[in-house]
Symmetry: C2
Subunit: 396 residues, 2 copies
């Protein structure tokens, strides 16, 4: 008996679009991890989280261990509403749902909105996990390039107009990381944000705004798309993974009430009272603005160290965008296949993510690589780039 013969048609199609097993190369122990999109270990508030969980249990006893009933657990939504309001997004509790990280939020939105024949617009390059999620629902994508000013909305406008003119299906959803994008690190300008929201109205699509890095600008935070949108076209997902810690799995989705109601109904892992109440207690105990200031300063320093090292150790023909926030820098090495480069780099003791993983058509990504300055410390960053520079140089 083959269990696959029992799989639903949707799943058979999804597994065909996006076959399991293509995990990325594991990073060997001792390797300098310029691949990891993890927060810096010394920026994980270990002691404060420990105090929070101890306070919580002492105060609430069994309550955070039940399905419902923890008073702290109920606070988390308010705290996130507050954070969103600080960024210009004013929403009610019915327009907000806590999820297990941004990734679950993206999956739930995709599940609600995408049919087998739905066209989804994605940035090129884009966050690979999101791309995988979408590929579980559809195989129809429109890739729009990203440059140093974010998604090229003029290209998007042309593509949409051309599709319309030719009577082709128009997209239902566009997925973007407008601020400190993964993987390019670039940020959409205010003008392009405005343009994008106008295009959504004109061509009748929804925008899924992934704001995972939105609070990690080194200088002024850009306005979220949701704060520009006047008619519920933007669905906003966010997360505390990058600013507190990913292991608690706290993210959210904000959007039109009807959408949030539908998502809530379909989300069958229920809530996570222990993790959510721990996070709420932690947030209550700290000054979040102070924490953000520290994070921004530290990541800015690490980013500067990375860029200086690139300038020092990489050949002149290699180019990159200079990040203004977030976790990542995007590097182009003309004429070099970065997947092959990775094998050599791992031997030297440094890791990165080859650019191809961020493209629908992986051929477009062979010359690129993503470097993360979040996880490795400053000394490791310099050492890692030095090693990598040696490998790159040997390929010219």
């Amino acid at each position: 008996m083959s269990i696959e013969s029992f799989f639903s048609d949707n799943i058979k199609a999804a597994l065909k679009n996006d076959p399991p097993g293509e995990w990325m190369t594991a990073t060997p122990d001792g390797c300098i991890r310029l691949n990891s999109g993890y927060p810096a270990p010394d920026l994980v508030p270990v002691q404060q989280l420990k105090s929070a969980v101890v306070n919580l249990i002492e105060k609430e006893q069994d309550l955070p261990f039940h399905y419902l009933g923890s008073p702290k657990f109920a606070k988390l939504k308010e705290q996130i509403q507050g954070r969103l309001a600080d960024r210009g997004i004013c929403i009610s509790k019915e327009e907000l749902l806590i999820t297990s990280g941004a990734c679950q939020a993206i999956d739930l939105v995709a599940r609600i909105l995408i049919d087998k024949e739905t066209f989804v617009v994605i940035e090129s390059p884009t966050y690979m996990e999101a791309l995988e999620v979408f590929q579980n629902y559809t195989q129809y994508f429109i890739s729009v390039p990203v440059d140093e000013y974010g998604l090229k909305t003029d290209c998007l406008a042309e593509m949409l107009e051309e599709r319309k003119r030719q009577g082709q299906t128009l997209p239902r959803l566009l997925y973007t990381i407008p601020t400190h994008q993964n993987p390019t690190g670039t940020t959409m300008t205010r003008d392009r944000r405005q343009h994008l929201v106008e295009l959504a109205i004109k061509y009748n699509f929804l925008i899924l705004e992934d704001d995972a890095y939105g609070e990690l600008s080194f200088n002024k935070s850009p306005i979220p798309l949701m704060a520009i949108d006047q008619e519920d076209r933007v669905i906003h997902v966010g997360s505390l993974s990058k600013v507190v810690a990913p292991g608690l799995r706290i993210g959210w989705v904000a959007g039109a009430k009807e959408l949030i109601t539908a998502i809530t109904w379909l989300k069958k892992d229920l809530d996570h009272p222990f993790a959510q109440a721990t996070m709420a207690t932690y947030l209550e105990n700290i000054n979040f603005e102070e924490r953000l200031k520290i994070l921004r300063t530290k990541y800015h320093t690490k980013c500067t160290v990375l860029i200086s090292a690139l300038e020092q150790y990489f050949p002149g023909s290699v180019s990159w965008y200079v990040p203004e926030g977030g976790y990542f820098a995007w590097v182009r090495i003309p004429g070099v296949d970065t997947s092959q480069l990775l094998t050599q780099a791992l031997t030297e003791g440094v890791s990165f993510v080859p650019g191809k993983h961020f493209f629908l058509d992986q051929k477009n990504g062979t010359e690129f690589l993503r470097l993360s300055f979040s996880y490795a410390d400053e000394k490791e960053i310099v050492e890692g780039i030095q090693k990598l520079g040696k490998v790159v140089t040997s390929n010219f």
Copy 2:
């Protein structure tokens, strides 16, 4: 603009089958909760969980707060393998996936196996949350009655043979809670278990075994269906919600490797390192068999108190099954609509779940109600049944 116009066809159909908003009546404060399927507050191991989380953080520092990398987190799968092996289920790591409670496991299995036209066999009555999950994927169900010996496999055999004879679609999946079923509290006999597995082979369907109460037998635990199955027809879901605490959201699904691989790929909330590592530390620190002994004794006592109170305070025409484990007792009050009874009961200060919620065709459940002896303490149970008995008597 209406956001619903963007919903996928599947979701539109699901929302039609299973419209949001039909939540059960909330229990007023101060009410005796004979409705809650929660563990008893004094059986939640608050101090041990606190020690576990403190130990974990002191030992592993930032590791359980990242996406990966916590050594304890990696232990949990082994511990669950061990518990399953004790019950006669021998599976490899590739055949097991940790989920956020049994409910997420059921949803993921449903998502993999159910098409819009798929027939699913359910017990009548059955666990309402599971029924809701299935209704998000299909509207075709075959209800098979449950009696004091569990699912009536002879009825099932007749129904399947009749469908086959008439050339009707045969089911792809059967969902059962064979041990201390929710809501009836009854347990499938060994003969019926064997018969069910044979029927799955003969009529080529899969069995989803929900074993949430499988470790809570007052006497000997029955053999799980998965331990009888010789050809990967049984998918087994379980949970630590009923034997440790639901708030950590630890469940699992065990099944054929290809199924688990597909589920892992589709499960986009990722893992929950903090909660899973906390649970693993707790399990390592305690003697689980000792804990189970205590739970079984306490719940047995509470169940005995409930049944005695029913005998004392309920009219002679009311009947019930005497549970041999689990959390629930199932009561029939001939000629009384238990939904209307609930309104009166809440006024008196006691709560239960009306039987209709556990039936696909809610009309079949009007005379029944589910009582939980897990959450309320013994004094409350007696007082609650006394109050409820008064309300019931006034309806004759």
